[in-house]
């Protein structure tokens, strides 16, 4: 089979396939992840790649301890690892494989991870660090294999045949194609399909808030770390308030975003820029009630679409710096436009009570995370509606009286 082993350097499929499951949060794994986190955070080179520092931070000792408590609180004492997990990582967010892999490793599984990119500078550096840490943790290094290959039914078929669980991240086409390859009847599978995310701003509270620059930086991180291609990066900006409030708030908001973009020297790629222009024209062509408020295109493109639109605007959107804006009367109004493709709502100026009472009961589908600005990309063990610690393990019940 023609695949390249990226990590560990001397990694062997037979070794990984032969390794036995460990108990969740085993000390060997904890030690490995602790070292890895420290190495990542200290690596000077990664200062340019905030998404990698974020992954290292996420894996730090205290965060893993917290995760362990959550696992136990949710009945983890009864749970054991599943065995060999085959992960197909997404190509749009190149650090996701870390979370998928290390969460699974943490609860005791062995792992094969297929990544589709290898030349990205950040990933090369990251793989080098993982390899370095592996050298000091030989037994743990026998528990996973990160590989790269062009999609190939033979390779995908083999990994699928030997796995106890398959995790597919990708677009609809990928998921359908991989799903046509069988896994053992008792194997488990979870899929992370393409998603669409929304930012909601309470215009009145935004206008009253005095740290607008901070909000802008947080929004910038949410939207631009992965060129707006991450599923949880906001693409639709929903404004709630009176039309006067919204008009003023929009003006202040976008000018502060422009300032951050200039300060961070962010630039979309020429091809990305064309992609967004095409999408913009497509929206405009198909709904006569859209408006493009600023046609000078200062790094970002915006289009206002009425909330009553019949456009399938989620499918046309292709990230890379395009923001759809919609005005809403209240949260219930927002709930009406939601659908199963929706994932994250990044919100500013609301209480969680309001979300629970005025939004969640009226959702039409989708939406499984509501977070503050700046946290859109913060990975969580609860993702896309899955409790991953739970999914990566199986439950064993033992009755008290066995006589």
């Amino acid at each position: 089979m023609d695949y390249t082993t990226l990590c560990p350097q001397q990694g062997k499929l037979e070794v990984v396939n032969g390794a036995q499951p460990l108990s969740p949060f085993h000390t060997d794994i904890l030690a490995f992840i602790d070292d890895l986190s420290q190495e990542i955070i200290k690596e000077e080179e990664f200062r340019r790649f905030p998404e990698i520092i974020a992954a290292g931070y996420w894996l730090r000792k205290s965060a893993i301890q917290r995760l362990k408590h959550i696992f136990i609180d949710r009945g983890g004492k009864q749970r054991v690892a599943r065995g060999l997990v085959f992960h197909l990582a997404p190509s749009n967010v190149d650090t996701i494989f870390m979370y998928s892999l290390f969460l699974s490793l943490l609860v005791g599984n062995t792992n094969i991870v297929r990544i589709s990119f290898k030349s990205n500078k950040n990933i090369q550096g990251l793989l080098a660090v993982i390899n370095r840490v592996c050298a000091n943790h030989i037994s743990v290094s026998h528990r996973f294999l990160i590989v790269n290959y062009e999609h190939d039914d033979t390779i995908n078929g083999y990994f699928s045949e030997i796995c106890a669980m398959r995790v597919i991240w990708g677009g609809h086409e990928t998921i359908n194609r991989i799903r046509s390859i069988q896994i053992p009847p008792s194997a488990h599978e979870i899929t992370f399909a393409d998603k669409f995310s929304i930012a909601l701003i309470n215009a009145e509270n935004y206008l009253a808030y005095n740290k607008k620059e901070d909000i802008a930086i947080r929004f910038f991180n949410d939207a631009f770390w992965f060129d707006q291609l991450a599923c949880s990066s906001p693409r639709l900006i929903g404004w709630i308030g009176t039309s006067e409030q919204i008009t003023t708030a929009k003006e202040k908001f976008w000018s502060s975003i422009s300032a951050v973009i200039a300060q961070k020297e962010y630039e979309s790629s020429p091809s990305g820029n064309m992609d967004t222009y095409v999408a913009l024209c497509q929206y405009a062509a198909l709904d006569k009630n859209t408006t493009i408020p600023d046609s000078h295109f200062p790094s970002i493109k915006r289009i206002t679409i009425p909330k009553t639109t019949e456009l399938s605007f989620r499918d046309i959107h292709c990230g890379q710096g395009l923001f759809i804006e919609m005005n809403f009367d209240d949260l219930k109004d927002v709930a009406h436009i939601t659908q199963s493709k929706d994932q994250t709502i990044t919100a500013f100026g609301f209480s969680s009570e309001a979300m629970k009472k005025q939004l969640i009961p009226y959702l039409k589908g989708g939406v499984n995370r509501i977070v503050g600005f700046g946290n859109a990309l913060t990975f969580s063990h609860d993702w896309d509606g899955y409790d991953l610690l739970n999914e990566f393990t199986r439950i064993i019940t033992v009755e008290d009286a066995l006589y």
């Binding site: 190509s91 677009g171 291609l229 790629s269 064309m274 222009y277 006569k288």
Partner: protein
């Protein structure tokens, strides 16, 4: 009034002589498409431009060529559509659909003839088509390749398709053609990559050559595959001369969305606008007009498209405007170079892991 254009030779007017008339025609098209094509109208409306007419030729909102792949864009009644042109795209599996009525088809043919006759004269020439006849056999679905061949066939007679169905050179027929017409001008037409791959390289590999010293080769199509093999326009011309003796080799730049109003290469190696078309180079980020000498995205304009809103389009090609009305070849109009497609950044999305393998 469009008929008045044909009173002039295609490369004979300077900017000031061409300008007003050209803009007037674009405005006629703009009004027509605004009225008849809701998608076109909606785009102008979204940009807040539904009430004002474009001020000059840089003031139109260029429709992305890719839009013809995702939307049905037409400005005539369905029953007036005579044929539908399709092109396969390079960026996706989607296909462009261009709806042609009788008048638009007529203009395409007439404009193309007017331009080509300026290069080869008005007499029809013996013609060697460097392709296989198979591509024009299915008339139902016109491909860009077949459409191009048929469009150019009108300038020739005694047509010979050079390749059989397997893209092999029909050696005997070729020899017969060359023997018969070697003393007189002949027209050769084909797509750049196919000419290179199945004609020039095959001749070179077999150490063969043919003799068509009075041949005029007109070719078009992308350079991308050739660039991968480090073949540029100069290499191409030299190889053609070496293997066929042809001295006159003209590349042209054009697209299926604006069939007919092509941009012909001149003897200095530049593409030229003519009476029927125009280009604007735009900054890739802001879409503002670039200065002469500055690289940007090529916007193409044509006076032809009536049945579909294709008169002002933004391509996905990069180019540089070199000058206007003062090319050493003597032709008037803007002259420019094309630098290939907008580079695609290492693809992080749109998130389909299968995209790389297609």
């Amino acid at each position: 009034m469009i008929e008045e254009y044909f009173l002039h030779r295609p490369f004979s007017l300077t900017a000031s002589e061409k300008g007003k008339q050209f803009l007037d025609r674009l405005i006629v098209l703009h009004r027509h498409h605004s009225e008849r094509c809701s998608e076109y109208r909606n785009i102008y409306k979204a940009f807040g431009r539904q009430k004002t007419l474009p001020r000059d030729d840089t003031d139109f909102i260029p429709l992305p060529v890719r839009l013809f792949k995702t939307l049905t864009l037409k400005s005539v009644n369905p029953e007036d559509v005579q044929k539908t042109l399709t092109s396969s795209g390079t960026t996706s599996q989607n296909v462009s659909h261009i709806y042609l009525d009788k008048e638009t088809s007529r203009l395409q043919t007439k404009v193309l003839a007017h331009i080509i006759n300026d290069y080869i004269g008005t007499k029809r020439l013996p013609m060697l088509i460097i392709d296989t006849e198979d591509v024009i056999k299915d008339r139902q679905l016109f491909s860009a390749r077949g459409g191009g061949i048929l469009g150019f066939s009108t300038f020739g007679r005694n047509h010979l398709y050079l390749f059989d169905s397997e893209m092999n050179i029909k050696v005997n027929e070729l020899k017969g053609f060359c023997d018969r017409f070697k003393e007189q001008p002949v027209l050769l037409f084909g797509f750049t990559f196919l000419i290179w791959k199945y004609f020039v390289e095959v001749l070179k590999a077999n150490n063969q050559s043919v003799s068509l010293p009075h041949g005029i080769l007109i070719h078009s199509g992308g350079w991308k595959k050739l660039k991968d093999d480090a073949v540029d326009n100069e290499t191409f011309k030299t190889a053609i001369r070496g293997t066929t003796g042809i001295q006159s080799v003209y590349n042209f730049y054009g697209m299926v969305e604006q069939l007919g109003s092509i941009f012909m290469e001149c003897e200095r190696g530049f593409f030229h606008t003519c009476l029927f078309n125009n280009i604007v180079i735009r900054n890739w980020k802001t879409l503002k007009v670039c200065q002469k000498g500055e690289e940007g995205i090529i916007e193409v304009q044509s006076v032809i498209p009536w049945s579909y809103p294709g008169h002002v389009l933004i391509t996905e090609d990069l180019g540089v405007l070199i000058g206007e009305d003062n090319c050493e070849c003597g032709r008037k109009g803007k002259y420019f170079v094309v630098n290939g497609r907008i580079p695609v950044a290492e693809l992080r999305g749109c998130s389909d892991t299968f995209q790389h393998t297609g």
